[in-house]
Symmetry: C2
Subunit: 275 residues, 2 copies
């Protein structure tokens, strides 16, 4: 596979960063990840908006304008002869002479294999962990707590870990979180979360059929919810049927989760037919 | 200069990590930094202990035993003909096939120029920021908040930023923190801090002359302190004479700070004469 690095298309095996890069020295960098279906990057403008937003907060310079980035992605897909894949942007703090000061960013675009399932899964167990991501509005490369908690996830046969602090839940390391309350309201945490593009699409779709709220979600509300699910670019929607030792709702993928999954796939198909 | 990488001594300009390394993908890695004076690494056993401790918590394998590491450092100093420098270890999550799972660590040892001042500075201004480092007992490479706050430091002409949460202060991004209370007690935060080696040495030295406490330090206690100072491997002790807009004590480097600085230099000299 080819990647884009230093303004060239090069074999991905040849993309190396010098040890002085702030990503290696200080974990300082951002990224984006979006999916390509039928050769077209889905909701690309939303992902680009967030990428430039993350870069601005972290004081990193994206070395290309949005239109140029779209052209780079297009050519990368052609060179790789890829129509179904994930595309990752990485933007780092660059080669720093004192291992602390931001320098000229290194920018890498790489394709990744992507397996999208065509149907909603039957539901997963998750655990919880007290944590709020640093600069949660930024898609930074910092996943220390996410990877650290993998061990407890394995031990407890859980598929993911939901962050919470002061009784309020926020997000997963790589996914957003929704509940369906007893009265049918679809609710997602409004603070301390990454603004997921799938989250945004779900909020849009859900508001056409259900009452929707963005706001504080307590752990108590989670345990008392009728349905719960996570959203992400690669996973779309996955029902959550158990949180720690508590079964959520009737322990099955719920009506609202299934409905929104189907509507999300339709929204993707609509985007592709119009793009 | 030479570095040690992949079991070889190579020019530092040639130390590159593939983009699939978890340090670049997920900011997942640890490091150590100690100083060398007169060709001898100071307090090396303490730094090695902490390094293996960080690695264990992060589930990373150090590819060498402590004695082998000491030999590597010794040979690196010889090859670089270096007698006064800093040495950094970096241990990363390794080349990960799925960009999330820990793999075989990459391990790098590099020398860095080091300028040690021979006398205590006259004092600095610091600002404060609400934050607790993730896994604070681990010397991880994650400095997102530290680098993010550089901008406000510059704007406010501050030399460093002190983290606090729920009214309790903890540490700086790269230094520990001490105050001297009105009654002469030397106090340092006991929770949510990296166990600095200089911090440990200062606690030892201070306890021979003063009342010493490791425990909760409130912001209020900081503002009301007689003296305040930071400690680090490279900075030894730097007096803090202003926190945000508040002058600490009489705004000058204090008696205890100066005393401990001199005792610390003596302790280093004693270590070198015995090593």
């Amino acid at each position: 596979m080819f990647s884009f690095f230093k303004n060239q298309f090069v074999p991905s095996e040849q993309v190396f960063l010098h040890v002085s890069d702030l990503a290696i020295q200080r974990g300082y960098g951002i990224f984006e990840f979006f999916k390509v279906r039928k050769g077209k990057p889905l909701f690309i403008d939303d992902y680009l908006d967030r990428f430039y937003g993350s870069a601005e907060i972290m004081r990193l310079q994206v070395p290309h304008k949005p239109d140029a980035l779209k052209e780079i992605v297009k050519e990368l897909l052609q060179r790789n002869n890829a129509t179904e894949c994930g595309i990752k942007f990485i933007l780092t703090g660059g080669y720093s002479s004192d291992a602390y000061t931001i320098s000229n960013s290194n920018f890498i675009v790489s394709p990744y294999p992507l397996q999208l399932s065509d149907s909603i899964s039957s539901g997963i167990k998750i655990i919880t962990h007290e944590h709020v991501r640093e600069l949660p509005q930024v898609k930074s490369i910092n996943y220390i707590t996410g990877i650290y908690t993998l061990k407890r996830m394995e031990e407890q046969a859980a598929a993911d870990v939901l962050y919470h602090q002061n009784g309020m839940v926020s997000e997963f390391p790589r996914c957003n979180f929704f509940i369906v309350m007893k009265d049918g309201t679809v609710k997602t945490p409004g603070k301390n979360v990454l603004r997921g593009i799938t989250r945004k699409n779900i909020l849009k779709i859900a508001s056409q059929q259900f009452k929707v709220e963005e706001g504080d979600v307590t752990l108590e509300e989670v345990y008392g919810a009728k349905e719960a699910f996570l959203t992400s670019t690669t996973k779309r929607i996955i029902p959550i049927t158990q949180v720690e030792d508590t079964v959520i709702g009737d322990g099955q993928a719920g009506f609202v989760s299934k409905n929104l999954y189907n509507e999300l796939v339709k929204l993707e198909d609509k985007y592709l037919s119009e793009a």
